[in-house]
Subunit: 272 residues, 2 copies
């Protein structure tokens, strides 16, 4: 029997609030029941300011709110978080900091710079990540790439239960440590960022795995989190590769079965 992977945190497939069973019919006209993921709206406040409402499975509102605010540069790594209040009925999370915050101007800027496909990346994030070079000498062994993909695929997940969900994981060498899922893949990334920040988990010796495509926004978030290696079972976009090259991020895509492609930072792969 295979040893079950031990995660620090992973999807709770037994949580009945995450999945609904719906009635329908199949291709033979036969009545069936099908499990589907619940989307909920979740509104994030930073101190007294409403920041965003996003659609999420809402399994980790605290990590999601903190990770979102970190990845948008609204929460600084030096910030002291005095309180996180969660109202499950109103679907609201309030993050309170000792530092006084006001992002009215930043929120205004978003209107004219950010749309659906780039989600919630503000203009200043692009300026910031241009200056980041991931200098770590962290390597990834060829065989780890297979092992990581296999371990993650075999982990019990909401995807295996109900589909229509993206997954992200943080791996050390070939050992997955953190696994988060969400209807929006950027929520899954943000939940990981929030968890790593609160638990003080270092990033420079980790590997990031995502089921989603390697678009510019995914690459930006990985660079911002200072993780040097990003793996996906999906494909690349040209701008994602360009940004990865500029910041020395290793980009491994189309990692399926015994195949993968590396389009940036190939010096981190060890073939022997």
């Amino acid at each position: 029997m295979k040893k079950k992977e031990k995660y620090l945190v992973s999807p709770n497939i037994k949580d009945k609030s995450l999945i609904t069973e719906l009635k329908g019919i199949d291709e033979n006209g036969k009545k069936i029941k099908s499990k589907v993921i619940n989307e909920k709206s979740l509104t994030i406040f930073l101190n007294n300011q409403e920041i965003v409402t996003l659609m999420s499975i809402a399994d980790h509102p605290k990590y999601l709110a903190i990770g979102y605010l970190l990845n948008q540069n609204m929460l600084k790594k030096s910030d002291k978080i005095s309180k996180v209040e969660i109202d499950k009925e109103l679907n609201v999370v309030v993050v309170r900091t000792k530092r006084k915050t006001n992002y009215e101007n930043k929120l205004k800027k978003k209107i004219t710079t950010s749309g659906c496909a780039i989600g919630t990346v503000f203009g200043d994030i692009y300026d910031e990540i241009k200056k980041i070079k991931l200098k770590t000498k962290k390597k990834i062994k060829h065989k780890w790439i297979y092992e990581i993909s296999k371990k993650i695929t075999l982990t019990p997940s909401l995807y295996l239960e109900a589909g229509a969900i993206h997954g992200c994981a943080i791996i050390q060498n070939n050992k997955p440590l953190i696994y988060m899922e969400d209807v929006g893949r950027h929520n899954a990334v943000d939940k990981i960022a929030g968890y790593m920040f609160l638990k003080k988990i270092s990033a420079s010796n980790k590997i990031f795995y995502t089921t989603g495509r390697l678009t510019s926004e995914m690459v930006i978030k990985t660079i911002k989190m200072r993780i040097p290696i990003l793996i996906s079972r999906s494909g690349f976009t040209a701008w994602g590769v360009e940004l990865a090259k500029k910041s020395d991020l290793t980009l491994i895509g189309r990692a399926k079965g015994k195949k993968y492609l590396v389009l940036s930072g190939e010096e981190r792969i060890e073939y022997k």
Copy 2:
């Protein structure tokens, strides 16, 4: 030899501006070249107002801009479009209407109501679609579902060329008419909406096919476009199904090979 499908419009896989060939290595450490999709930023203006900047493959900026504005209720079906200006160097599209427009208050509202996963749906759209009932008696034959999936999968596409892209199609009976692809699936929907509006193509007798998941936003756009049947090869979310049921939208998901599931509007399926 199979007869090639004739589309009114479909992806131009020979357009070299859409795809870049990048150098990298494969799983054997061998040097390879891989085709990847180009993402570009595109800024949409309505008259003198900057509305949004989104990431797109930018193959049909005119249809994208008009479809986006229609789906956001910023362009009305009764509007006379006096001019569409496209600046390919600045990646800007300006849509000009006879009616004077000002959506400053609406753009402000977006700040606090919309996030990544719901992309660019404004609060007022939810209020609007709640009132829509898709009353058409349009049916879909069981075997068309297979035929549609097969025809779309076999159509030459940017997905087959380079991956990492979503596709959407408009079908009449079992015949695909319009096929659009984009890095963000909502751009593909918006391009279709813009095309159908400008070419005066009726919606109530059509079927919509998407490669993406049947999330609330996808369902909302289909209802808004008044298309009564939505098919996807991917899965459902609970809120997507709930919205579909309220508006009598037929929702067919996980349409792969000989399988599919119907979780809303099953009375439109004809099994004989």
